[in-house]
């Protein structure tokens, strides 16, 4: 059920400095880029910031540039369609191009940005509907009760909240070991993917290390995995619109038939993208084949603690990891 959005003041700054000045002036200012996640919150009247800052007109935040190390800099407000259609992304980081293509629907990708995609809030239906749960500042989790509908929820890393990361591109960017460039009150810092996405044990009210007023300027994908063997697969109820029930992203190098280096990340099973370090250390130096696939299946979901209705995610995850390894054979 959606409603007319609450009244807010809208700012459309043309430079990063103006945006920061506005964010500094208004404590509850809310950034929108594509607005595909934000307007949903407003229409459901769950979040009602009095000031909205539209950052889409800031040229410094947009575009795709080559870096010296064969890597790429991707501006935060670059749309998912632009990421997917970029030749540089397709040739060096196909796992990212495919992840961007598997988000939502064409119309959402035409407007939704990569910065908004990695910064979006979780899709736990209780939370989105405005239930006063832990994440919303309350003192219970509605998704982790004996009768709760928790088919989409987490297998790992639970700390009061059992919500999962909704973003498809976050999984690919984590596998590519991307750096997130964050501007905080005039200071710029680079945050590694592993620190950018945070779980409920660090802060239960946020999904990323971005604090109110912070602006994600861009994402730097290092050249390390450029041109390596890559794999992305997403399983969802429908191919359009639906968020992942599980997805997998992999980048690997193969030397004389054996896997020399690998990075594998699974999404929608934990609050943050889950790096499958057990699989990685198992397959390094090994030759892909049926035998290795069987072993990968055995370790991929080790330590999973399913809730009432999400046991199916365990074999899903195992099979996705196995299929990623199979793609190297």
């Amino acid at each position: 059920m959606t409603d007319v959005m609450h009244n807010f003041e809208l700012f459309q700054p043309a430079t990063l400095a103006d945006a920061q000045a506005i964010l500094g002036d208004h404590e509850d200012a809310w950034i929108i880029a594509g607005g595909m996640d934000s307007l949903d919150w407003f229409k459901h009247r769950v979040k009602q910031p009095s000031v909205v800052v539209d950052i889409a007109n800031i040229p410094d935040l947009h575009g795709i540039r080559e870096e010296d190390d064969r890597g790429l800099w991707i501006g935060a407000t670059t749309t998912l369609t632009e990421v997917n259609e970029s030749e540089a992304v397709q040739s060096r980081f196909p796992v990212l191009a495919q992840a961007a293509l598997r988000v939502a629907s064409p119309q959402i990708r035409n407007k939704g940005t990569i910065g908004g995609n990695v910064s979006q809030d979780t899709r736990c239906t209780y939370y989105r509907d405005g239930f006063p749960c832990y994440r919303a500042g309350g003192n219970t989790c509605y998704a982790n009760t004996p009768t709760a509908m928790n088919r989409e929820h987490a297998l790992f890393g639970v700390s009061r909240c059992v919500a999962v990361t909704p973003s498809d591109t976050a999984i690919a960017l984590s596998a590519l070991e991307a750096m997130f460039i964050v501007e905080r009150r005039g200071d710029r810092s680079e945050v590694a993917a592993a620190d950018f996405f945070i779980g409920p044990d660090i802060d239960i009210t946020r999904m990323t290390s971005l604090e109110p007023g912070d602006i994600l300027v861009g994402i730097r994908v290092p050249g390390k995995w450029a041109g390596s063997r890559q794999y992305f697969e997403k399983v969802a109820d429908r191919n359009t619109w639906d968020f992942a029930l599980a997805n997998i992203a992999m980048a690997a190098t193969v030397d004389a038939g054996a896997i020399s280096d690998i990075s594998m990340v699974c999404g929608a099973v934990q609050c943050t993208p889950r790096r499958l370090t057990d699989v990685e250390s198992l397959v390094r130096g090994e030759t892909p084949g049926e035998e290795l696939e069987t072993l990968v299946k055995r370790v991929a979901a080790r330590g999973a603690e399913p809730l009432n209705f999400n046991h199916f995610k365990v074999p899903l995850m195992e099979n996705l990891a196995m299929r990623a390894i199979r793609s190297l054979a």
Partner: protein
Amino acid sequence: METYGPYDPTVDYVPGPAPRPKHGRDGETSSWRPLHMSRRNFLRGVVCSGVVIGGSAYLFSATTPARADTRAVERLVRLTVNGRTHSVEVAPNETLATTLRYRLGLTGTKIGCNQGECGACTVIADGTTIYSCSTLTHRVRDSEITTVEGIAGEDGTLHPVQQAFIEEIGPQCGFCTPGQVVSAVALLNRNPNPTIEEARLAMSGNLCRCGAYDHYLRGVMKAAERV
């Protein structure tokens, strides 16, 4: 008994009297009633003339700007739709679908889900399709917008996509049809010779509850032979 008119986003809403008993969560939202109904008719009148001279009270939002370059947006915007430029008064929290339907009278653009999940509200902005229900009108101030009303020729000649949809019996209830037409036209503008897979992908953001997907897809392929 208090009667409630149809939902009209162009009027200001204030909390009203207790809603009529209704089941479910509907009751919550129906407690909002229009402040003054007459503004609707006022707006309708000016919509026809194409130009709105906003009352001074509506012209600017309430704040006094601290710096000239960090001002909040103004309410009077120029919007280019189907090749015509309109001056129209737009609230900061207004979606493009609302502006098109209720300020400009272009009701061909439908609102289905109002949350980016159906495609009934699809329009073209600068060559790409977007959901107008999930776009702030202020965002597309400088864009060229095409709605379903701008697809057929000036003299009413149907676009090959529209003709093919009729021949392939695309529309059943027809509610999704404007969005389907807009998505198909945007595809053929960009790629006049799509493969069936490319067409399926381009049309995948348009839900059809009647399930006429294959009909629409055949229509796209047929239209591609004719453009």
